[in-house]
């Protein structure tokens, strides 16, 4: 395994709890110089790092401190692949799942595995990369919602509570709670679409 420095350069500022606007970056783009293999792998790493971190840390519960090493292993394996890869994102995510399972198998020899390791992603399911990317984006979209909207969605969709329960919790009428649920779902979808449009 390649050496890893121990300094942390990725800490992210605290998540905002107030609604903010999603804007596309509009910097002018200069024609790119001819790229080398090193440039290509750097670009791919930058493009996919967050998704791979999400897969490792959130889906497989890999400790944050080890996730970066696994990503590096995935890219080293990618670099050594002589095949032309059709779908880079799918390949990287599948390799990250492979690396994560291997990590837990290796750890299993010295400590107990997380209870839910078998629940973390179905390796046989197709479009796994798309599914992970979508959930990561929904997670990001939630950051842009008003706290009341987040709470409504949490109560209804995560806790599975009825509109009546939500109304009691938020001390409002059933009719208004129902409207709130609809509006918040619409809003999170709008933000989700804005984020994916910017990414494209």
């Amino acid at each position: 395994m390649l050496e890893q420095n121990t300094s942390d350069v990725t800490s992210k500022s605290a998540r905002p709890r107030t609604e903010k606007t999603v804007r596309a970056a509009t910097a002018p783009v200069a024609p790119p110089p001819p790229s080398t293999a090193a440039d290509d792998v750097e670009a791919l790493y930058i493009e996919h790092r967050n998704l791979l971190l999400y897969v490792a840390c959130r889906k497989f519960r890999i400790p944050d401190s080890d996730a970066e090493n696994l990503i590096q292993e995935v890219f080293l394996s990618f670099l050594q692949n002589s095949n032309k890869i059709d779908n880079v994102r799918a390949w990287l995510v599948a390799a990250m799942c492979n690396a994560s399972r291997h990590y837990w198998r290796a750890q299993g020899r010295i400590e107990s595995l997380p209870d839910d390791i078998n629940d973390q992603s179905d390796p046989g399911s197709h479009g796994l990369a798309d599914q992970f990317a979508m959930r990561m984006t929904v997670r990001q979209a939630l950051d842009y919602l008003q706290p009341r909207c987040r709470e409504t969605l949490w109560l209804h969709y995560f806790e599975g509570r009825s509109a009546g329960d939500v109304a009691r919790e938020l001390e409002t009428t059933n009719r208004y709670a129902e409207k709130l649920i609809h509006n918040c779902l619409k809003r999170v979808r709008e933000i989700y679409l804005s984020i994916t449009a910017v990414a494209k």
Binding site: S65, E68, E73, S77, W91, L142, F158, K186
Partner: protein, 452 residues
């Protein structure tokens, strides 16, 4: 259905209500309206995601080292690989000059050629060579495995060397399979599996070994194991989004159906693969799908369709210079011509093919093709020509010096004698042909003439 229901789109409120009350499936408008249907699906997708605990987990991921370090490491690795590969290209020009018998001795005289780059380049080249000149591919992979075995894993990051050894042995297994050395190919598959099993990220590489394994086990009639290997590989490739390899694995599965004479089932799979590949850029894989469709149709008695598929496959493969593949396809067409009664044309084609097979080092295939001609000639009582064919075939085996050459010579000599006494018949030739076909798999198999 009321057309106004189709033309007027639903408001978001209505779509969410349908979703919330589980009435979307029974609604009449949605199935007819792509726009509303796709919108309700996106609401459903987001609602499902909101039920997942992970999307509510807003803890930061605090990695111990950051992107800058990883980027630096990856760049250094990519640069090193690129540098090794560039130097390897120069070495290879010298290493692969002249006949293949000179390569290994030359390698031993040049310690500077023992690099990871040379292994990678040899492995790459072997996959092209296997189509054009299989014995060259076998030698290239022998050189590659020799070098990879000597490289020190500690001089390279991560599991680079294990991976390299696995790749070299996998390529060797494939090349050995191609020249009909099935037992050696099976051993090479086992070594490749063993090397990759030691790597942390190995599913994709093992799935590639799985395809070769499926091909190699088929001649031993280990159809069930081979089918499992092919299906497992296909599932892995699908997960990795690799269309070409998924199709290759499914083709290996189709070969198992052929082995069980389940041609109709094979045709169904192939037709769906053909549809998938018709817009694909992977022309080589597309050609293989077409050739297999030709084979399925031939066995189903759909001769015209079969020839059409074979012709398309052959045209695609010609563009790659994949000679061994086009030879196999042309062989199938020749057999089919014989089956539909065009004996003279079939004989002419088989004779041409035999010459090409000998040149390509496909010795046992050449012998089988010769015996197919012999069988056709016997039906017309052309005994002298059969004697001549047997003589040529024996000479080919003598020159090839294969481990099973002497046994093959005995069997062919038996036909020659019978033909010269005008007592050789279709049954005898068929018996010997099947024996020769079996020899690469079982080099120690004894020849038993059919009962008189």
């Amino acid at each position: 259905m009321d057309t106004s229901m189709i033309e007027r789109h639903y408001e978001d409120e209505v779509l969410i209500s349908l979703l919330e009350s589980n009435r979307a499936a029974s609604d009449q408008h949605l199935p007819a309206c792509d726009s509303c249907n796709s919108k309700v699906e996106s609401f459903r997708m987001i609602a499902d995601a909101l039920a997942d605990q992970d999307v509510w987990d807003d803890r930061e991921i605090r990695t111990q080292s950051g992107p800058a370090t990883t980027i630096a490491n990856l760049r250094a690795f990519a640069d090193r690989m690129s540098d090794e590969d560039t130097r390897a290209e120069t070495f290879l020009q010298e290493l692969l000059a002249g006949s293949r018998e000179e390569w290994m001795p030359r390698l031993h005289a040049h310690p500077e050629w023992w690099t990871a780059g040379v292994v990678r380049k040899l492995v790459d080249r072997s996959y092209t060579a296997v189509m054009a000149m299989p014995p060259d591919a076998v030698e290239m992979t022998s050189v590659a495995t020799a070098i990879a075995g000597e490289l020190d894993p500690d001089d390279h990051p991560s599991d680079t060397i294990l991976r390299l050894r696995g790749s070299a042995w996998r390529a060797k297994a494939y090349a050995l399979y191609y020249v009909g050395l099935f037992s050696a190919a099976e051993k090479a598959v086992a070594v490749a599996e063993c090397q990759f099993s030691e790597c942390a990220i190995n599913e994709y590489e093992l799935a590639r070994v799985g395809i070769v394994k499926a091909l190699v086990l088929r001649p031993f009639d280990r159809i069930s194991e081979a089918t499992d290997a092919a299906m497992s590989s296909a599932a892995t490739f699908e997960r990795y989004g690799d269309v070409e390899k998924t199709v290759s694995a499914k083709l290996a599965e189709v070969h198992m159906l052929f082995s069980r004479s389940q041609y109709a089932k094979a045709e169904q799979i192939l037709l769906s693969l053909e549809e998938q590949m018709s817009t694909s850029v992977h022309a080589g894989t597309h050609a293989r799908v077409l050739a297999n469709l030709g084979e399925a149709c031939r066995n189903l008695g759909k001769f015209e369709a079969s020839i059409q598929y074979y012709d398309c496959a052959s045209a695609l493969l010609d563009d790659f210079g994949a000679r061994t593949e086009t030879v196999r396809i042309r062989w199938s067409v020749a057999i089919m011509l014989a089956e539909v009664g065009k004996v003279a044309e079939a004989c002419e084609r088989l004779r041409d093919l035999r010459r090409e097979m000998v040149y390509l080092g496909m010795t046992s295939e050449a012998a089988v093709a010769s015996l197919e001609v012999a069988e056709l000639l016997l039906a017309q009582n052309h005994y002298e020509q059969v004697v001549e064919i047997c003589r040529d075939t024996m000479q080919t085996f003598e020159l090839a010096g294969l481990s099973y050459s002497s046994r093959a010579l005995t069997a062919i000599a038996y036909i020659r004698e019978a033909a010269s006494q005008r007592r050789a018949d279709h049954k005898l030739v068929e018996n010997v042909r099947e024996y020769i076909r079996e020899l690469p798999r079982q080099p120690n198999l004894l020849f038993a003439p059919p009962p008189a």
